[in-house]
Subunit: 364 residues, 2 copies
DNA sequence: TTGTAAGCGTTATCAT
DNA sequence: ATGATAACGCTTACAA
């Protein structure tokens, strides 16, 4: 008797490459037998459409609770060839810009009973290819990404489109015209903040831009439009470009500007971090903000924490995520079969203490 | 005729709640028939263990490529009753502390072919219960969380432990002794930074603490240990408690301290944001950092960006995530069957410009 | 070395 | 209103 048992166990162990795989899974069959009905009746009672008498339903629900049954989503997915899984791809989740988008996506996804796979795609093509395969194998229902244009992304987009898996770009690459896209309106944001400074009385308004950045180009365009709209003269020499969005970059650019014969009376930095660099440069020159020079940032990330508190253009991260996931869910559910959507979301100026009217002598 | 068709369509529509479910999935069978072998041979060739001749393998791989086959992870999971999915639960992904942990977890998970479901549990018990159910239904292989102790978490831990799904707390609740846990060593961090200030010559060292926080208690302990170890006198009156970790809290506490007859010559704020509040208070009083007063923060989040640059205690977020996921993977693979692990990771002092020796008159 | 076939836990069709 | 049963696409024991 004992020997027989032991032999059986050997067989089981053979199966158990992963020892932890104990089979504590309660199946629909067990619920059925406990409730004294068929599996199909249980299935109907648990939530799939169908006729079940109130009495039966109660019996089933009771049995479920008692033996701790949780439907197996994997089996369901296999049968229905549908999943409740969507993916969000970012260059780096550590970046608050993306983590805020992720947060709002997660929020809505979760309230639609979807779960969110988060993928840090980084910058290497290889990683993105690996992710693509993984998502394909897991049959994700849809994809949202905030990735820059690369060949690997192009590849990904093509593959998923071929398989009719909807994709939405949430402030990512603007290269694919055939993909749904929701982005912040960088032109409008820069235009608004520049107009604000112009209307405050500034005319020598510097722009601390960044080389080779699409966003930078759009914001520069907005900056220029502000001058056109208000009829004031644009002074191109106050547009300066740094190599990146770093604090050092902001510091260096501001130093250069302050070294000029006619330094600006106001400056727009391309993000709050660059603005912090600019603040350092300004203080080093013994000037004061906003008395001698007004300064604004972009992104509204650390703007509340600088000294003085920075006026900044807030990007609608939460809104980007919400709109993106809504579009995606509509596509997944087939509610929306229109052509590609392009949504542009307003950026919002947050007034704080770093901006003021220029000094009397400040005009050009 | 027309009527009949329409009737059939009605039935189909009934089925087609989700119209997008086109069946463009290539199966193993199709690969098999194209390669002229059986499905099991394809299975073996694709990567599951087993004998396949090199010739056959090439044939199969070719067929796979040609028809764009990607194994169905769902079917595989159903068969093997194993998934490659792990979940990471956070109170808020927006918090850089958690997003950095998430990032390092994702990194290792992904290189182990696992995908990471990200769950924003927020603070409502209901959300966490919903997440629990969802994860249960998706048969996640393991769970990492950074959540505070609540009844809902207790519930979750109990359920997953009953099902032998491994759980690791990454800097989360310290309440469950039977769960693997990896946390930063708050006692050591506070002790080190306090010793550093003592050895710099300070004796009136303030502690800007926070009420009802476990972390705060541990750091206070470390602060006290520093005095014990160095043999200097501890002055309890320099330990002050605010209601929360906010900038305002830091500002108010520092104001109080500076109003005393013998203000501190150094202060430890419980995070960088509180330190920013303290900086404001100090500047308002016309004092200078670090000449009149030294200041340190915790977390090393925005410390590089303050003016002056803040000396701060960096928490090992990346390391927390890495260790947590490693423990989890080992548990999942059954490599590790030891009792609960408790890992304590060192916090590291990052020296910047906000700390210096006290002025000659500063000693007690 | 390869093929056959059973079964993972559901859902959906059909019959009752 | 309920039950029997065939699939979903894969893995794997076993036969060939």
């Amino acid at each position: 008797m004992k020997k027989k048992e032991s032999r059986d166990n050997t067989r089981n162990n053979d199966y158990n490459t992963h020892p932890k795989r104990r089979k504590s899974n309660v199946t629909i069959k067990e619920v059925a037998s406990r409730a004294g009905v068929s599996t199909s009746t249980v299935g109907r009672a648990v939530g799939n459409y169908g006729y079940v008498s109130e009495q039966t339903r109660r019996k089933v629900l009771k049995a479920m609770k008692e033996i701790g049954y949780h439907p197996n989503a994997i089996a369901r997915s296999l049968k229905t060839s549908r999943t409740q899984t969507i993916a969000y791809l970012v260059p780096s989740i550590t970046n608050p810009f993306f983590s805020q988008i992720a947060s709002s996506i997660e929020d809505l996804a979760s309230s639609h009973e979807c779960n969110l796979i988060l993928c840090n795609a980084g910058t290497k093509a290889d990683k993105l290819r690996k992710i693509t395969t993984m998502l394909l194998e897991h049959r994700v229902a849809g994809v949202i990404h905030s990735l820059p244009s690369t060949d690997a992304l192009y590849n990904l987009v093509e593959i998923f489109q071929n398989r009719h898996v909807p994709i939405v770009a949430a402030s990512g690459s603007r290269r694919f015209t055939e993909v749904d896209r929701v982005t912040a309106d960088d032109v409008q944001g820069a235009r608004d903040v520049t107009r604000f400074l112009i209307e405050l009385g500034h005319s020598r308004i510097a722009l601390l831009a960044v080389k080779n950045s699409t966003t930078s180009k759009l914001r520069t365009q907005g900056y220029k439009e502000a001058f056109q709209q208000t009829g004031y003269n644009l002074h191109e020499e106050y547009i300066v470009e740094g190599p990146d969005f770093s604090e050092d970059s902001g510091y260096t650019l501001m130093k250069v500007l302050l070294g000029r014969k006619r330094p600006p009376t106001a400056a727009v930095a391309f993000n709050d971090v660059m603005a912090v660099g600019a603040i350092r440069a300004i203080e080093e020159e013994g000037l004061s903000i906003p008395k001698d020079i007004s300064l604004v940032g972009f992104d509204d990330t650390i703007a509340r924490l600088t000294q003085p508190r920075l006026t900044s253009v807030a990007l609608p991260m939460g809104e980007i995520g919400r709109v993106a996931i809504r579009i995606l869910l509509d596509r997944i559910e087939g509610k929306d079969t229109e052509g590609p959507k392009k949504v542009l979301l307003r950026e919002k100026l947050i007034m704080r203490d770093s901006t003021a009217r220029p000094l009397a002598g400040g005009s050009l």
